[in-house]
């Protein structure tokens, strides 16, 4: 029996996951981090990337995870995210199209700073979604 710990994944849409897991990894602002049972108290901000949860029964699930915070407090791990999409629920075609659209917008040069930022953000989101799907395959 592997060591497990309690993980809660929460976003503004509600509690996404609440249960015991073996490990959780996600992209933080300073790179990928993985949390195992018995981790020291930690507090960090989450960047954009693929998150992976390994459950008690050795199965695992990946997700596109964007923004938020990761904290470990006295053995309790809490991942609070802005966006969390399980990879198996992502519509790859839609993400693919969003990526193309964003690229097209960036290719046209007449963009205000705000528009540019929005386009970049859209492109990043699409890329994160796509890459989280690829990890799984």
């Amino acid at each position: 029996m592997a060591n497990t710990f309690h993980l809660q994944v929460a976003s503004v849409d509600g509690l996404i996951y609440d249960g015991m897991v073996q490990s959780v990894s996600c992209r933080c602002i300073d790179g990928d981090r993985a949390i195992l049972a018995g981790h020291t108290n930690l507090c960090t901000a989450v960047g954009m990337g693929t998150a992976k949860i390994k459950f008690e029964d050795d199965t695992s699930r990946t997700a596109a995870c964007i923004g938020g915070m990761l904290s470990v407090m006295n053995g309790e791990c809490r991942l609070i995210v802005t966006t969390w999409e399980w990879s198996d629920e992502i519509d790859v075609n839609r993400a693919e199209k969003a990526k193309e659209r964003a690229e097209e917008r960036l290719a046209s040069k007449k963009l205000s700073e705000r528009e540019y930022k929005i386009a970049i953000a859209k492109l990043n989101r699409a890329l994160v979604r796509l890459s989280s799907c690829k990890v799984k395959q």
């Binding site: 809660q8 976003s11 503004v12 507090c43 915070m69």
Partner: protein
């Protein structure tokens, strides 16, 4: 008698149309409430986790390199007050404004009003208004909450305000709506757990460093709190309006019943009198 009866009839008509309006408003509030309630209920568990996390971090924090964790030099307060867009919701708006005044204890404060009623109230009162772009509580999205949180953090960092607090109405169930205050900034202001053990603080590792971490997570946290406060407040507003309109409809029905009774009695009395007069005339 006849003119009196006409007046009664007119009054009944006007009450009837008022009743129709209150009934319609009740139905609208009911349907909107259902949506708002689902949203508020979906948010609550996640939000509880978010608050506990931040509270634990604030409690265990020994690092004061970030502006958000230090007590500010300024003692000016800024309150974010989430009220409704419309009246006709019983004491919903007024209860909240009274609660804010109670907690302010007579001190001066600036306001970020959310919702038309909140904006109008504090504008009239002459409070300083920090951001006035959120007049419609109904139309605020999570993205707006993020930009509001950013402006709030900016205002805190420049030292204009030393304390930020959020006031809203918590939706507990249909009949109990509770006004609440959540201290937002600095993290020092957090309600501490009343636990003797809290003197023992755990060392927390921050990655890459505390300043960067707080710089990123604090605006996000504030955005989450704003958004969930907003959802709760919206649900509360509709619940308050539904209750108020329900009792208004009931009152109107009661008045109609009484007036109807009075009207019929007056009509009967009129007929009896006429008969008496005819009989008396025939006998004469």
């Amino acid at each position: 008698m006849a003119s009196n009866m006409k007046a009664v009839k007119l009054r009944m008509k006007s009450i009837e149309s008022t009743r129709q309006i209150t009934k319609a408003m009740e139905l609208v509030a009911t349907s909107k409430l259902r949506k708002a309630k689902d949203k508020a209920e979906a948010i609550t568990p996640g939000f509880t986790v978010i608050r506990h996390t931040l509270r634990d971090i604030a409690e265990g924090n020994l690092d004061f390199s970030s502006v958000y964790t230090r007590a500010s030099a300024s003692d000016k307060s800024c309150f974010i007050v989430i009220a409704g867009d419309r009246g006709m919701a019983g004491g919903y708006n007024n209860n909240l404004f009274r609660y804010v005044d109670e907690k302010a204890e007579g001190r001066e404060f600036a306001v970020v009003p959310i919702g038309k009623k909140s904006y109008e109230f504090y504008k009239k009162r002459g409070n300083e208004i920090l951001i006035d772009s959120y007049k419609e509580a109904d139309e605020i999205s999570i993205a707006d909450c993020f930009s509001a949180a950013k402006s709030i953090c900016e205002a805190y960092k420049t030292g204009r305000f030393g304390h930020f607090q959020l006031y809203y109405t918590e939706f507990q169930n249909m009949l109990s709506l509770v006004t609440r205050r959540i201290p937002l900034l600095p993290l020092e202001d957090f309600d501490k757990k009343k636990d003797p053990k809290s003197d023992i603080r755990n060392i927390i590792e921050y990655g890459p460093d505390a300043e960067t971490v707080f710089e990123t997570i604090v605006p996000e946290y504030i955005a989450y709190v704003l958004y969930s406060g907003l959802c709760e407040s919206l649900a509360s507003e509709y619940a308050a309006r539904r209750t108020a309109m329900d009792s208004a409809t009931k009152n109107a029905e009661e008045m109609l019943e009484n007036l109807g009774l009075y009207y019929n009695r007056a009509r009967q009395a009129g007929i009896t009198q006429e008969i008496t007069e005819i009989v008396a005339g025939a006998n004469a």
